[in-house]
């Protein structure tokens, strides 16, 4: 069975979309199996059948060139890295906060109906306190979890496409820093369907909670950097461990 890992790596680094690379190598493997079977049926030995099958399939250079001469198979990320890692983090943060805000508006406006229907709770101070807690958890997830989730998303997407690290770091840094300055808070006013929902950005005048934003941005960068460092260390340690096991 041939290994097309090197071909896959070459295509990914050249910007071919991962889905095309994955399918291409799977199809080549299947095609190789069919060719071997055909050669064996024709009377060739297994070794000869495999050699002939590889030759019929084409050399690695031929297979790579056939894919690389088709620009339509390149991923959007490879063609427009500035859009994905430059504009993407900003757009994603704005969309997530605006989307989160609208969803919360809807939840606040329908909280009476939701609490009665889902929890069987009548409107009152107890239900209002519970609603405030739920909104606070929701806001905390968006404000603190969102940037970290997006940082992971950009890292995963960039690594999958074998993008240059400079692009991945740009996207992750943008999402960590900008995400640190946004805030979404719900203030309880003591009744169901009421309350203040506050969306602020420390990056816009009058720059509210600037020091908190700096601290959160630093924390985001530290968390992501730490995870990155640990992952890189683990990756570097793997071949050494294998080598040690063999010797």
């Amino acid at each position: 069975m041939p290994c097309f890992d090197r071909l896959a790596e070459r295509l990914l680094r050249a910007g071919i979309a991962p889905r095309h690379v994955r399918r291409y190598t799977r199809e080549l493997n299947d095609h190789f199996d069919d060719l071997v079977r055909e050669e064996i049926t024709g009377g060739a030995s297994r070794a000869l059948a495999e050699t002939r099958a590889l030759s019929r399939l084409g050399s690695e250079d031929t297979l790579a060139a056939a894919m690389l001469e088709r620009p339509e198979l390149r991923s959007f990320m490879a063609r427009f890295p500035w859009a994905v890692f430059g504009v993407g983090p900003i757009a994603l943060l704005v969309l997530s906060f605006v989307g989160g805000l609208y969803l919360e508006f809807w939840l606040v406006n329908h909280s009476g109906w939701l609490f009665r229907g889902l929890l069987g709770m009548a409107p009152g101070p107890v239900a209002a306190r519970l609603a405030t807690r739920i909104y606070t958890v929701y806001n905390t997830l968006i404000v603190y979890g969102g940037p970290l989730l997006f940082a992971w998303l950009f890292t995963w997407m960039g690594t999958r496409q074998r993008m240059p690290q400079a692009w991945i770091i740009t996207g992750v840094a943008l999402v960590c820093v900008m995400g640190g300055f946004q805030n979404l808070v719900f203030y309880d006013t003591g009744c169901i369907g009421c309350g203040h929902l506050n969306l602020t950005s420390g990056l816009l005048p009058p720059f509210p909670n600037l020091s908190e934003g700096i601290a959160r941005a630093t924390a985001n960068l530290a968390i992501v950097g730490g995870v990155w460092w640990l992952a890189a260390r683990r990756k570097m340690a793997s071949p050494i461990a294998l080598h040690t096991a063999r010797t």
Partner: protein, 112 residues
Amino acid sequence: MANPSFMNGVPELLILRTLAANEMYGYELVQAIGVRTNHAIKLGEGVVYPALHALESGGMLKSRRKLVNGRTRVYYAVTRKGEKHLAGLVQHWQHITDAIGLAIGGTAHAML
């Protein structure tokens, strides 16, 4: 035949023409093209896949996974857009081969 400039557009034409009859997976398609062209056109068999992917990206082919003998195969079939594109390609190649036929036969007024 292996002259790259003359091969431009040929894989697409052969793929679309062969798949126009019925859906096939890669290996099956390469065998069918071989039979259809009397093995006159030699290609690395693996290079058919980038052409298939590109035609699918352009909406000329559609693919679906099918389990055959315990293995998942990607079957390709021509779409309506692909049929129209094939008709154009056939007309274009017919025009070229007619012109070359005239040139080889020594007859003048070849319209290219």
